[in-house]
Amino acid sequence: MQTKRMTFPGKWLPFALLAPQVIITLIFFIWPAGQALYQSLLREDAFGLRTTFVGLENFARLFRDGAYLNSLSVTVVFAVGTTLLSMTVALLMASTVNRMIRSRSTYTTLLVWPYAIAPALAGVLWWFIFNPSIGIVPYMLEMVGYRWNHRNSGSDAMLLVILAAAWKQISYNFLFFLAGLQSIPQSLIEAASIDGASPFKRFWTIVFPLLSPTTFFLMVVNVVYAMFDTFGIIHTTTQGGPAQSTNILVYKVYADGFVGLNLGSSAAQSVILMVIVVVLTVIQFRFIERRVNY
């Protein structure tokens, strides 16, 4: 790792400067993570009186447990749905905004603010709109003959949480796509246009390939968002239901640990989640290193 050629001398000062960050990291990050690892190897009896070391049994149980496997596939559906929906809409918006000259900043302002809304609030807003008895959307759907009810229908519930999660993420993706589009040299597009390529052809053969680093980066970020930052959305809308149909992994860790008080299993689930974050972070960073050279 680089440093400055010239540095300050000092034996204790650098440690003192690092101390606050390091102490907080050790107490609130490293120690709890270690605890999760340790607890994932233990089993507590029903009364919390005795704990026994069970090795990897908690993990083995999880992968035999239908509810966990269900949660895994629910998470995949949710993450893929949220990512696809928010990225498609954001790309459409960004490429149209990018054509604009005078109105560009107005549209940008109108599209960026949902970033500021808490996921929990996004959940409440969409839940209200889709409320089966007083919501406006079920009322409209009724007119075309569809009875919306996310309290009974798993697919309705999934659609609701995907909409809420994607809505909040559009502004983020939009800003990155817009920045990506603006870094594409205008001359390339002009050349293609002189050769007679239509706008759609130009988009698919020039713009989209050049945008692929941004797209890949956003895919990773969106998956991380959908998997880890959407607790508030699930908690304020469906709470994992109906019948486990929206019980994503992050929510299940909370529900099994705090509500179900099944500490060993919850800890094992935390450990699996940590592995997933590590993998996603490594992908993100490797990719970003590549992008710097791009």
Partner: protein, 280 residues
């Protein structure tokens, strides 16, 4: 644009206006709902135009809140959110500035070790280590306190990296000149580094304030005393009731969303800078 085709421009504006309308729709509905009289929302059809009870709903929510949900007045909850967000933001910025300074401007044993130790926090979101972190905070007797609300969330790998990147771009001559003039490390930090970092600090401030304000799971778990209820978690309590008073809930939603949205709108340039740089 390369060529000028009126129909294409028209089409583009149409797409954008529909898009913007869809993005705004949920908030518009919330605004409309928050101006209705208590019974109006339960009549089956949701009105699409604002009602006339806005001022009284907001006033009621602001001053007394929904007492049956055991939630304090919105004014109190907004204040709690503000204190928490500010504590997280200022905490994150200060400890990140200090550690980036140490990592860039000193050579000491285990420098790389500390760098990676901080890096690891990126991979440990609070959601995945929730139970053991809760236990630590409980053992430290920090439940139901602003310290418990903010301190566990203030470690920040991204801010440390950003400041490190930025410090690396500051010319060596600055340091040489400062040392020739006899400035010590702390004086250099205070008089040269901090003033040069103002834009970066402001950009990160926007992002982190929003992060802090929007915290949900953490305050929900570690505070049970209504004196520490933040507005975002307070709203959940109100919706969890048997028959939520939607007009008041929506007034609270609008008040909870307004501060961070205003921060973005007024500091849009800094917000974009903070966002794109922290993710690099």
């Amino acid at each position: 644009m390369v060529e000028n085709r009126p129909w294409a421009n028209f089409f583009a504006h149409t797409v954008l206006i529909i898009g913007v309308a869809l993005v705004i729709f949920p908030v518009y509905i919330a605004l409309v709902a928050s101006t209705q009289a208590p019974g109006d929302l339960l009549r089956g059809t949701m009105p699409l135009l604002p009602g006339s009870h806005g001022i009284e709903n907001y006033k009621l929510m602001w001053q007394s809140g929904v007492s049956t949900a055991n939630s304090p007045p919105a004014a109190k909850m907004l204040w709690n959110s503000f204190v928490m967000a500010m504590a997280i933001t200022v905490g994150k910025l200060s400890i990140s500035l200090l550690s980036a300074f140490a990592i860039v401007y000193f050579r000491f044993r285990f420098r790389m070790f500390f760098f990676w130790l901080i890096f690891v926090t990126l991979m440990l979101p609070v959601e995945v280590r929730i139970i053991p972190t809760f236990q630590v905070v409980a053992d430290l007797k920090m439940l139901n306190s602003f310290a418990g609300l903010s301190i566990p969330l203030i470690a920040s790998a991204t801010a440390t990296f950003l400041f490190r990147q930025f410090f690396m771009t500051i010319p060596e001559e600055m340091l040489e000149a400062a040392r020739v003039d006899g400035a010590g490390p702390l004086k250099f930090f205070k008089d040269i580094l901090l003033p040069l970092s103002v834009t970066n600090i402001a950009a990160l401030f926007v992002i982190m304030f929003i992060y802090g304000w929007n915290q949900y799971l953490w305050p929900l778990l570690i505070t049970t005393d209504p004196n520490y209820t933040t507005i975002v978690m307070g709203i959940q309590r109100m919706t969890a009731e048997e028959n939520p008073q939607w007009h008041l809930v929506m007034a609270a939603v609008v008040m909870a969303a307004l501060p961070p949205v205003l921060v973005i709108l007024f500091m849009q340039r800094l917000f974009v800078k903070g966002l794109t740089e922290t993710e690099k």
